[in-house]
């Protein structure tokens, strides 16, 4: 789960990570009020779940209350397009009003905590080259990224923080402060079950103090059950409405831009492979949809409703390998969905496995117009042809 910058900073701050003083605003009036409370100048920052906001015009300095008002008016409701949002962009609905930080003589660095999959352990990454995308640094100068792997039994050790601090060129007089900062970041990472904490830039001010000027905190979805307070930070406006609807029915749905072939599959790997074979057949998949291993007829119907909620879908491919899920249950769900929802696009069904013959017979006897296929290639070719004909 992703959260906004201001929420991430609040989480980090509660673990002792220094962040600029700031407050969220949903309206222009709130923005002005916050600015007065914090003291001018302030920085107005658009809050969306994507990076690259500064370059796209989503971060502005305001010196007076009038300037805050002007900036807030422009930003609230604007569609912000950054390299991470895609061409459709994101509507700005919240602003972070933050105290202006004196950048004179300040140094921008990078600090992050993530889980290293290959090592099976958390790793703290740091770089003296902050304020730019870490992927760019990694591509240009891999040696500029310092890494310390955490031993799970003992946690992040002071010597590791010192190694990183020296590597970043932090003066000896500031060592204790830098170490405390990094330890606080790791404490937060571990305590909230984050999948990532990224502070970029981490600012070393002229007086030597460190502050998180920006913060990205993502949570491990699997661990949210033990952090009920964090669930409230979810912002549904940042998510696709169909994806939100799908998640309510325990369906895993991801909309893909520009696709015309809706697909419904059981299992994540097979769902990805089905998208791939649609592409190979010359079509474009409209979505990823995993109905799970033990879907009921009701689930199948919900899945259909979500698929068809995407107006660009011109044909649907159902690809099910019945292991636990039986083909007759699938057929029952599909028939009920088509009858109740009045599906207006061609439906191609390919099913294999448990009770396959029974399921096929049910589809045949339903009197509804389904196209069936025996293997994935045939299914993909048929659905791509149908989607093409429907355009």
């Amino acid at each position: 789960m992703k959260i906004h910058e201001y929420q991430g900073k609040a989480v980090l701050s509660s673990f002792g990570v220094p962040v600029p003083r700031g407050k969220v605003a949903y309206t222009v009036a709130e923005a002005v009020e916050n600015a007065k409370e914090l003291g001018l100048p302030v920085v107005v920052k658009a809050q969306i779940h994507a990076g690259g906001r500064g370059k796209a015009g989503g971060v502005k300095l305001a010196r007076t209350a009038d300037e805050v008002e002007t900036v807030a008016k422009t930003m609230l409701g604007m569609v912000l397009r950054t390299h991470q949002t895609g061409p459709e962009g994101r509507v700005v609905r919240r602003l972070l009003i933050e105290q202006g930080i004196d950048l004179e003589g300040a140094r921008e660095m990078y600090l992050a905590a993530v889980v290293d999959r290959a090592k099976g352990a958390p790793v703290i990454m740091a770089s003296a080259q902050g304020g730019v995308e870490i992927e760019e640094v990694a591509a240009r100068d891999p040696g500029a990224i310092l890494k310390e792997t955490i031993e799970p039994a003992v946690g992040f050790q002071p010597f590791q923080a010192r190694k990183l601090a020296f590597g970043l060129g932090i003066p000896a007089a500031q060592l204790a402060r830098a170490s405390a900062f990094m330890q606080a970041v790791y404490r937060a990472f571990e305590a909230v079950d984050a999948s990532m904490v990224e502070i970029n830039p981490l600012l070393a001010l002229r007086d030597g103090s460190l502050i998180a000027l920006d913060a990205k905190v993502n949570f491990d979805d699997n661990a949210l059950y033990r952090h009920p307070e964090l669930k409230e930070l979810r912002d549904f406006d940042e998510e696709d409405p169909l994806e939100v609807e799908a998640s309510k029915h325990s369906l895993n749905y991801i909309k893909l831009e520009g696709g015309t072939v809706g697909c419904m599959v059981n299992g994540a790997g097979l769902a990805m492979a089905t998208m791939d074979i649609i592409k190979l057949a010359g079509g474009s998949p409209a979505n990823f949809l995993d109905v799970g291993g033990g879907a009921s007829a009701e689930q199948i119907k919900n899945a259909f409703r979500i698929l068809l909620g995407d107006r660009e879908v011109k044909a649907v491919l159902i690809n099910i390998f019945g292991g636990i899920l039986r083909c007759d249950v699938l057929a029952e769900g599909v028939i009920a969905a088509v009858r109740d929802l009045g599906v207006g696009v061609p439906v191609v069904i390919r099913m294999k496995g448990n009770n396959e013959d029974k399921g096929k017979a049910m589809l045949r006897d339903s009197g509804l117009n389904f196209t069936t296929a025996d293997d994935m290639t045939e299914a993909a070719q048929k659905v791509v042809a149908a989607a093409g004909a429907g355009q």
Partner: protein, 290 residues
């Protein structure tokens, strides 16, 4: 021949709830020796003919269990894995989906230096068809004994590949579903080592996914060590970056873990890479000249 599970397997089921019991019966029906289950507090009772025990240690002492399969829900799954290792179980297969990543960090550290191998979590399990041994949730009937080792990060896509093989008359030595999570026990490279050393395995099918670098690591091993033909497929060639494609581990992040990179690494290592998931079986048939 097979790897990891076979006739000598004495299976213990951890988490004998509805789900666990259902699959315990499925394993027994397939031919696996299921010696019992563990549900703390239910020791001394039986369910569907399976004796239940309070702890894995007690179960091992009384039944000689050497393999366990974990159906314990996410909050207790990592604990169950560690309990099995502590009791001396040599192979733990964790089916549970949704285990917190930091729990797996701890469980992995706990397993370090112990003799226990972990498969999963978030996996369908492992099956050796010729020896009638199934430890997991896969449909047994699509498998057939033979000489192809299958290793995969996904569930139903593995069934699809196995079905293609069986339909073409090509049997499998052992099929290992290693799971779709970011932190897993047995990885592609580990499975490849087992198959490479197994005299009963003559060819290997490796099914990967976007995310992480396990397939690249496996490819490096294939290049250096593997003399048997390897057929590979990567799911997620059309997946957008930054989105978690169902599996927690299936995500392209920071431009890393794309299908293209993985397929290139595999092809460079001499793996027969197929672009279409429908061609896995036929490609194995071709490399085995059948």
């Amino acid at each position: 021949m097979s790897v990891l599970v076979g006739r000598e397997t004495r299976l213990l089921v951890q988490g004998m709830g509805k789900h666990g019991t259902f699959h315990a019966m499925g394993c027994r029906e397939y031919g696996t020796t299921v010696v019992g289950g563990v549900t703390p507090g239910k020791g001394g009772t039986t369910v569907e003919g399976f004796p239940l025990f309070d702890s894995v240690t007690e179960a091992v002492r009384k039944t000689g269990a050497n393999v366990s399969v974990v159906f314990v829900p996410p909050p207790g799954a990592a604990d169950a894995i560690m309990e099995a290792a502590d009791a001396g179980i040599t192979l733990v297969v964790a089916i549970t989906e949704g285990v917190p990543t930091l729990d797996m960090v701890k469980a992995s550290a706990f397993l370090e230096g112990r003799k226990t191998r972990l498969i999963g979590p978030n996996c369908p399990g492992i099956i050796s068809p010729a020896e009638k041994c199934k430890v997991g949730i896969m449909p047994g009937h699509i498998h057939k004994g033979g000489g192809v080792g299958v290793v995969s990060r996904s569930g139903t896509l593995t069934y699809e590949a196995v079905h293609q093989l069986t339909t073409l008359g090509i049997g499998q030595s052992t099929c290992i579903g290693i799971g779709g999570d970011p932190i897993i026990g047995t990885r592609h490279v580990d499975a490849l080592k087992l198959f490479n050393e197994d005299p009963g395995t003559e060819a290997i099918v490796m099914i990967g996914e976007i995310g992480g670098t396990d397939e690249e690591e496996a490819a490096a091993y294939v290049r250096q060590q593997v003399k048997k033909p390897v057929v590979g497929f990567i799911a997620g060639q059309t997946a957008p970056p930054g989105r978690r494609m169902g599996h927690a581990g299936a995500i392209i992040s920071g431009g890393k873990g794309t299908a293209e990179e993985k397929m290139k690494a595999m092809a460079d290592a001499g793996v027969h890479v197929v672009r279409s998931p429908a061609d896995i079986g036929a490609t194995v048939a071709r490399v085995l000249k059948r």
